[in-house]
């Protein structure tokens, strides 16, 4: 994959609005209490290492990496598709200036339709689906677009204030063009009444920020007699122009 050899010379990125993100210490989400720094973050400039980042070639992907309904069974050499409500999640990755972010890796992971993760530490009584692993990835195209197919994950209980319930969600990880654009978050689904009750969602103070994590039902892109679609756009920090910078 040929890449522009420019990242060293690229402009700085906008400051991260830390009030828009959740703070480190959020006692309503108990695990954060001992895992949150007490000292202030140290503000530093962005050098060449902060203004560039890893690039992942589309060629490293397996053809089924973006189809979680099929990729796990296929890796095991089995026939069959995951159980659950079939959905496509799609959208665009933009930066804060509205520019598309092409050729960037998105990784996703999630519970199955019953709300169970394929992980040895998940002991929830909902059954595993033999055809579902819950791991996928996709690289955005030249216009910053991406899509993947999966099943809608189920809500599940977790110990926090007694039994809290997570809304249905898909974890995602995205790299962007530079180290300082790195972002890991979770997408939720429009209309889920558990969103408002979730201590993890509620680590975010501003309801407009929460709304940015809610995927919208997109009947325009549903596949007839196959699956529903949800639209989810992702915004990464914007790269500034290089006024007066040599």
């Amino acid at each position: 994959m040929s890449l522009p050899n420019a990242p060293d010379a690229g402009g700085r990125f906008t400051q991260r609005d830390r009030a828009w993100h959740p703070p480190a210490y959020t006692p309503g989400y108990k695990t954060s209490v001992l895992r949150s720094p007490r000292c202030a973050l140290l503000s530093i400039d962005q050098g060449p290492g902060e203004r560039s980042g890893p690039v992942f070639a589309r060629s490293m992907l397996h053809p089924l990496d973006n189809d979680l309904t099929l990729n796990y069974a296929s890796a095991l050499g089995l026939e069959g598709s995951a159980i659950g409500e079939r959905i496509i999640v799609h959208g665009r990755v933009l930066d804060e200036m509205g520019r598309p972010v092409p050729n960037t890796l998105i990784e996703v992971w999630q519970a199955n339709a019953g709300g169970r993760y394929r992980h040895k530490k998940d002991t929830y009584l909902a059954p595993l689906d033999p055809a579902f692993g819950g791991c996928g990835r996709v690289v955005t195209d030249e216009a910053g677009r991406y899509f993947f197919r999966t099943i809608k994950p189920g809500p599940y209980p977790w110990p926090n204030h007694g039994s809290d319930w997570r809304p249905a969600h898909i974890h995602f990880s995205i790299f962007g063009e530079a180290f300082v654009q790195r972002l890991v978050s979770q997408l939720y689904f429009e209309g889920d009444p558990l969103i408002a009750l979730c201590p993890i969602v509620n680590t975010i103070a501003d309801p407009r920020a929460v709304n940015q994590l809610v995927a919208k039902l997109d009947m325009g892109e549903m596949l007839a007699f196959d699956c529903l679609a949800y639209r989810f756009d992702i915004v990464l920090r914007g790269r500034q122009q290089t006024f007066f910078e040599s």
């Binding site: 720094p37 400039d45 796990y72 974890h171 790195r182 993890i200 920020a209």
Partner: protein
């Protein structure tokens, strides 16, 4: 009204099952089971970086995922930059990278930075990933002149970023999320 821009998508914790999506082999999935993202293939002097993330009680964060980004041996980033990812051991919390000694990078004001690798920490209970650096103890003059270490007003905290040399080409750094000797984390 000031110019309006889009807002960055807000962060949420990577959660307890981050390894499913980022290190599926380590999570026990049959997908990409042969990946070894903590081993970075590149030209240069081979080194090992070991470490551990501790919470505010001193308990290992055994579900952490750590990413590394560094210059290559010639001090280049961009397309030459080196990236890796390691999961904390589910029992001990230890993580490990096998990489090359990075060359030195410049800083925007023209000064030279001391050799370092940048690290990001993701885990359950961490609402937005934490960004820090690991510096090598070998070149004290370079450390003393490093522009980022120089930004740390409490000089006593600089040592939280400097690895211990545990053998030839072998370094170790304990990352403390909170409390005494809390690691310096950045907002870049």
């Amino acid at each position: 009204m000031p110019v309006e821009y889009l807002k960055e998508t807000p962060s949420q914790t990577a959660g307890p099952y981050v390894h499913i999506g980022t290190l599926p082999g380590q999570a026990g999935l049959a997908i990409r089971a042969d990946e070894a993202l903590h081993i970075i293939a590149a030209e240069g002097e081979r080194i090992v970086i070991e470490g551990l993330v501790l919470d505010g009680s001193g308990t290992p964060v055994r579900d952490a995922m750590v990413e590394l980004w560094q210059a290559d041996a010639q001090g280049r980033v961009g397309v030459h930059g080196l990236w890796g990812r390691a999961g904390a051991d589910a029992t001990t919390g230890e993580f490990r990278f096998e990489t090359v000694r990075p060359g030195a990078l410049s800083w925007p004001d023209g000064r030279k930075q001391a050799q370092h690798v940048s690290l990001l920490i993701f885990a359950r209970g961490i609402n937005i990933h934490l960004h820090t650096r690991l510096y090598f103890p070998d070149d004290e003059a370079a450390l003393a002149a490093d522009p980022v270490l120089g930004r740390i007003e409490q000089a006593v905290r600089r040592k939280t970023l400097i690895a211990e040399k545990t053998g030839p080409g072998r370094y170790r750094l304990v990352l403390r999320l909170q409390g005494e000797d809390e690691t310096v984390f950045f907002d870049a």
